[in-house]
């Protein structure tokens, strides 16, 4: 069994008003030196396949087909044995 953690973030070229609002909020709480705040999604998937390689192949395919929209989003993932 493998567990994938998939992180989906807006591309750098895409504005992220939620991230900006959180940045302002953190600043109003007194935190200094904040350079940038961006918000994204975390999706975890447990997968019953034979090898890590097979898990990687499937997760990549899922990201490209459904989980991320390549026009506005980037994805990356980590897979660990679970």
């Amino acid at each position: 069994m493998f567990e994938a953690k998939i992180y989906i973030t807006l591309k750098e070229t895409v504005a992220d008003p939620q991230g900006l609002t959180i940045k302002h909020s953190l600043e109003s709480l007194g935190y200094k030196g904040l350079q940038k705040v961006r918000i994204g999604k975390l999706i975890t998937i447990r997968l019953d396949v034979k090898s890590k390689k097979e898990a990687e192949k499937q997760i990549k395919e899922m990201c490209e087909k459904l989980l991320a929209n390549p026009i506005i989003e980037n994805y990356n993932f980590k897979i660990e044995e679970a």
Binding site: P17, Q18, L66, L67, I71
Partner: protein, 234 residues
């Protein structure tokens, strides 16, 4: 002219579209459940607004894999007329029948109000009864209406005259002040290269009877009928 209104789990403007086609335009219309795959005998497919699959993951991302969508892609490739309104537009973008993507509104609010849009291209099956630059008053109701496309994509849209509508003020100025949701260059609606697929965030079906405040949406629906009348083919 026979219309189909596609119903996804979570569609909520399907009945408004149905009512406008049947009672205002007096045309035959049927609901098509998203699991169906047959679009024979229809001339125009409407993808209505709403929250298909609860907007989970991204707006339109899951509806895009409904069985009906392959039939709609084929229908569109053969030149059939397809109009996606609000969530329907979002589904068409996810499907790839239209270029670009939709982001959350810049101000992070759900916006529900009348806006003005300017007809940027009146040479489409959906706008042929509008004057060039005609201003229409039509409501929007969305949380994700902020149209985005990369630079190259935007250049292509302009080159092929694919921008159908831009948000503007009463006088027709399309600027930051008249942009309700942050959409790139005030884009409110686009067509595909061939011009037979339209996606738009404003709801023409909510502006199709005087008693509701505006009839400007009828310019769009009546343009579709005009296109279908063989006498008017050009």
């Amino acid at each position: 002219m026979r219309f189909a209104v596609v119903v996804f789990p979570g569609s909520n403007c399907d009945q408004d579209c149905y009512c406008v086609i049947k009672d205002v335009l007096k045309q035959p219309v049927e609901y098509i459940w998203h699991k169906q795959t047959n679009l024979d005998n229809f001339k125009c497919i409407i993808l209505p607004g709403g929250f298909s699959y609860g907007d989970y993951l991204r707006t339109g991302a899951i509806a895009r894999f409904s069985p009906i969508m392959s039939a709609i892609v084929e229908f569109a490739q053969k030149g059939g007329l397809v109009i996606g309104i609000c969530n329907g537009f979002q589904i068409l973008l996810e499907t790839g029948l239209l270029p670009g993507a939709i982001l959350r509104n810049k101000n992070l609010h759900f916006i529900c109000k009348y806006v003005h849009i300017k007809t940027e291209n009146n040479n489409t099956p959906f706008t042929n009864l509008c004057e060039q630059n005609q201003i229409l008053e039509i409501p929007i109701a969305h949380n994700e209406g902020n149209y985005y496309i990369d630079e190259k994509g935007l250049a292509d849209l302009k080159k092929n005259n694919q921008i159908a509508f831009r948000y503007c003020d009463k006088q027709g100025n399309a600027d930051e002040q008249s942009n309700p949701n942050g959409a790139l260059e005030n884009i409110a609606g686009i067509v595909n290269k061939k011009g037979n697929v339209l996606g738009m965030m404003p709801h023409p079906e909510r502006a199709a009877e005087k008693v509701l405040g505006s009839e400007d949406g009828l310019f769009i629906f009546r343009s579709i009928l005009q296109r279908d009348n063989p006498k008017n083919e050009h």
